[in-house]
Symmetry: C2
Subunit: 346 residues, 2 copies
């Protein structure tokens, strides 16, 4: 779609999932970097640490003991941001000081009994267990709650405070800002074009990183983070719980391939925040959600190396997100990386 001239010059790109624009300024990678350098991730994490509250058999902050789990393990967050019984602040209709009740549950899910593995280093069957558990939680919590957010903060750089491989699942009695926006955008597109936005998109996007018969991972045309990717099934699927057994196996395989490429990019266990977006649940289960397509967003912070990240700061916070290399460059770089573990110990 874009000529070479454009690729090398600043331009704006539209993100149809968020109805917003990103400023692409490719040549900014040329500026020398004299700013903050992050500590590289810890390299030698013990398989079992008697003081790590996420390891099998250990005690957590609230005094409860973990079982001697040998697959995934789900428990309630000991310091939840959402609780089922929070009181209603009262329906304040003041346009300037408006509050609303926030109720929900926050769960933590360990991926594996070992602290020294990550999803790309786990066996395919073990990743399938994780996916099955995700589906189970969406189904279970989704009977009541309109939104079940599965997300993984990986790496200290992304606020993760425990090296044991885990993700979180926060379910809420409200549709949060991001999914509400995505819902609106997908609905408007569907009404206008008669087909789900992301299905039409998947057929046309050429910025492919990895693909299989069922799945596709791309650097979206409108990516804001340097190596951001979008992972989605080729079939029209509303929620993670709707995936067939084969699709779950395919997902485990493509996740391993994508995340291994990520680890190989800067030869470091790659930090990111990721999360699943699917059709809303709870009261929305009774409605038509054909405009939705299940997908995962990967937002990795690194820009130049294992220790230099992209700062989304002043201009980005106050005006508009800005990126320093093109999505085409990012996709090509990731596409050309090996899908098996490189030399260095991860």
């Amino acid at each position: 779609h874009l000529s070479c001239v454009t690729l090398e010059h600043q331009h704006l790109r539209y993100n149809p999932l968020r109805d917003s624009w990103v400023l692409v300024s490719a040549h900014r990678m040329k500026r020398p970097w004299a700013g903050q350098v992050e500590r590289p991730p810890e390299e030698h994490i013990p398989r079992y640490d008697p003081n790590n509250p996420l390891c099998p058999g250990n005690k957590r902050a609230n005094g409860k003991g973990n079982p001697d789990y040998d697959s995934t393990f789900v428990f309630e967050n000991d310091f939840p941001a959402l609780q089922p019984d929070a009181p209603d602040p009262g329906s304040d209709q003041d346009p300037l000081f408006q509050s609303k009740a926030a109720r929900g549950v926050c769960k933590v899910m360990c991926f594996h009994p070992w602290s020294d593995v990550t999803l790309p280093l786990m066996k395919k069957e073990e990743v399938v267990n994780v996916i099955d558990k995700w589906a189970e939680l969406v189904e279970e919590l989704g009977t009541i709650y309109p939104w079940v957010q599965i997300f993984e903060n990986k790496g200290a750089m992304m606020g993760c405070s425990n090296p044991h491989p885990h993700c979180q699942v926060w379910a809420s009695n409200f549709l949060p800002n991001e999914p509400a926006l995505s819902d609106r955008c997908q609905r408007a597109y569907y009404e206008k074009h008669g087909e789900p936005m992301l299905l039409q998109y998947a057929k046309r996007e050429e910025r492919v990183v990895v693909e299989s018969s069922d799945w596709l991972a791309v650097v979206p045309y409108w990516a804001t983070w340097p190596y951001q990717t979008l992972l989605l099934p080729r079939r029209h699927v509303l929620r993670i719980s709707d995936l067939t057994t084969e699709e779950r196996e395919g997902l485990a395989a493509i996740m391993k391939r994508l995340l291994t490429k990520y680890d190989n990019l800067f030869e470091v266990s790659f930090p990111y925040s990721m999360g699943w977006h699917g059709a809303p649940t709870g009261p929305y289960l009774k409605e038509d959600n054909s405009h939705w397509q299940l997908h995962a967003h990967y937002y990795p912070p690194l820009l130049r190396s294992a220790t230099v990240k992209k700062f989304m700061v002043g201009y980005e916070m106050l005006a508009q997100e800005q990126r320093d290399l093109t999505p085409e460059q990012a996709a090509e770089k990731l596409r050309n990386l090996p899908e098996d573990k490189k030399g260095t110990e991860l």
Copy 2:
């Protein structure tokens, strides 16, 4: 507006400037922090560093020399994210792959000839010089460009790569996402209530940090960053260039007071990203912008101490912003801090 019961429990608050919600979960501060600890800011910055490209008389990356400036100094960013002559990618009407021309200029503005000062440590008259220069740049660039974004990234934690006190000014041929959203929200409010949103708000907000006869700095009811503040004049002012001489002096005084409190909070030169939002310019100069009220946003990352910041990651990126202490707690803490420099060397 909120009872004690609510303050201690999770709830949502509405941000009328961004038409979005923030999840307030006060008791999350109780969770122990075992995650990333930042390096504290460098303490002994030399007043003049022969290798710092921002100091008076020194050479910059492009070989140009700085004058021997003794007040503020403005120059074109050597690696601009926006340039005046970027080619038009062509008006692509494709709903999935849409691009637009992005043109503009990026300037850097040094606040002072010395590297070892910051705005709160500068003399009031010196801060007035900065404000006058801001006003001048908005006026000058605003004759052509619809948006002139003044912003300061302070501290390495906020992506600032040079300790010399400076800010940036990026002018663009488009209204970026954030001001476009704020424009929409303020306009809708004005149409409904017949008065600018932020003027009505300023009269009622009690979460005051510092105030004077002309100016007000508050932790907004809907703040997302732990110690976020909003700074605005009490009079209806559209743009920074519309401020009177007295108002500029008042602004310099209140900025010094606010930023000294910030420095005193964790006894460290306080990192933040800040920026000014005023009525749009260029073609908008001919339109009625009565719905606008000039204001500055301060977004500081620190949460617990000089070295532990708030991570806006997984849930925040994928679902909704979440804060760990109430805006009331933050306002009270800031309000009670001294307005002069505390014991430790800043």
